[in-house]
Amino acid sequence: MSSNLIDLLFIFMLACFIGFEVIRRVSPLLHTPLMSLTNALDAIAVVGAIVMAGEHKTTFATILGTIAIAAATSNIVGGFLITDRMLKMFKSSRPTKP
């Protein structure tokens, strides 16, 4: 248990550093789509909610799990949709392909 906890902390620490290094390189041009994309990715919390609702251990847990799935799914669907819509609009004045 305790070694597992340490493993998780290592993963968290490394992911934070990767996050900082990757995000630092994102052009300010794309900060709005960046935020909507990370929002959609963050909705991966849906996996916890799916297990919570699907295990059906108590009615209370199932109800909360179902609402949680709906909330996270709306972020996944809406987040990816709007990010792609925004990115489609960014065009260069230099024609790249015919």
């Binding site: 968290f12 992911a15 919390a45 919570m52 990816f80 004045s93």
Partner: protein
Amino acid sequence: MNELVSSQYVIEAIYLIASALFILSLKWMSSPTTARHGVWAGELGMLLAVAGTLLHHGIVDYTWVIVGLVLGTGIGIPLGFVQMTAVPQRTALSHAFGALCVTLVGTAEYYLQTPNVPRFTMAVLSAEVILGGLTFTGSLMAAGKLQEILPQRPITYKGQNVVNLGILGLAVGLAVYLVLHPGATHLFPLMVGIAVLFGVLLIIPIGGADMPTVISLLNSYAGLSAAAMGFVLNNKLLIIAGALDGSSGLILSVIMSKAMNRSFTNVLFGGFGQDQTIAGKQEAKPVRTATAEEAAAILSAANKVVIVPGYGMAVAQAQHKVRELYDSLTKRGVDVRFAIHPVAGRMPGHMNVLLAEADIPYDRLMDMEDINSDFPQTDVALVIGANDVTNPAARNDTASPIYGMPILDVDKARTVMVIKRGMSPGFAGIDNPLYYLDHTLMLFGDAKGFVGNIVRELTGGGH
């Protein structure tokens, strides 16, 4: 038994791939040319992760899972098609949804495990629901202010900071008690309730101009609460996604607060609106004005024009008229670029999205650092709906409340034109000396209408 173990391995392997895809997704966001690949990588990772989770052996009943997925899709689709001007409030709303999910799962998990919750689990569980709870209501408040359902002006009262910190301290105190006595089930809802209340109180004193920082900060909290949930559920994919989101939000908040020369604590506990009195001592100083015809003549005679858009342009929905202006000037051989201040608009990068929507090529949109050295060689700087980010007082008036804030040096251009409704001061209530300079022309009118008039003069100049 063997089957159970192997399905667990399959799920872990899928999560591993999904984690890699998430990192790639953010990596590809670094440039507009690869950014859409980033979305696809994210979508693929998400699809794999959700499909993999459905294999989980503990799931006995799919009914409610499907109900939740269908319901969420139904809410998500309209949220994916909001207008670009409404993106800040949509983003705040989705922070609220993300935090709601995390808080609900955390709450359910607590009641499943109580009273035998290991100390570490209880500690991260408390972090999860406190961060989740305050992000939920805080983001709803932010969305309400951005949608103008709630008053945008900061609401402040005496002792506000003491009250807020006291309430947060109470929630943390309850969390510590629960770590020591996880069986105290009656205290858990109290802790969540206090976090939810704190979220409301935290956003009440924050004004519209501070929204870019606040949205970024809430983004960071939403990520951290998801990472905490990963610790509770022993889910590495969640920890990674939460850490990525948390660091992304943190970086954006640092950029935003630097662009306003303010610290986090100052944004959250300072309250710009408290200095409103300054606006009162304003005296009527002379300004030079110009008509659309004169402005068009000056613009068409220029070689280099820099347009400085601000939130006022978005409010007036003037971006499409601005694009027409860009087109007609470019056709005449004028070099037109756009100077974007990091905090222009209501969220990070908001102006870029609005201008991209109006089909202005992104290589014409310049960051503050890249464009500032070019202003002395610029013939005309045209300010549309921006105010405080062009205020030279930030550079040279130590008494100004925005002193030290990095600004766009528009006053260094040969001619400055400012489209403005009237002489009222900007959101922060600070007078702008730019308007009284000898080489500044004030173009009074609605941004959309005035830009439209200039375009008409430029194109229809023949008749």
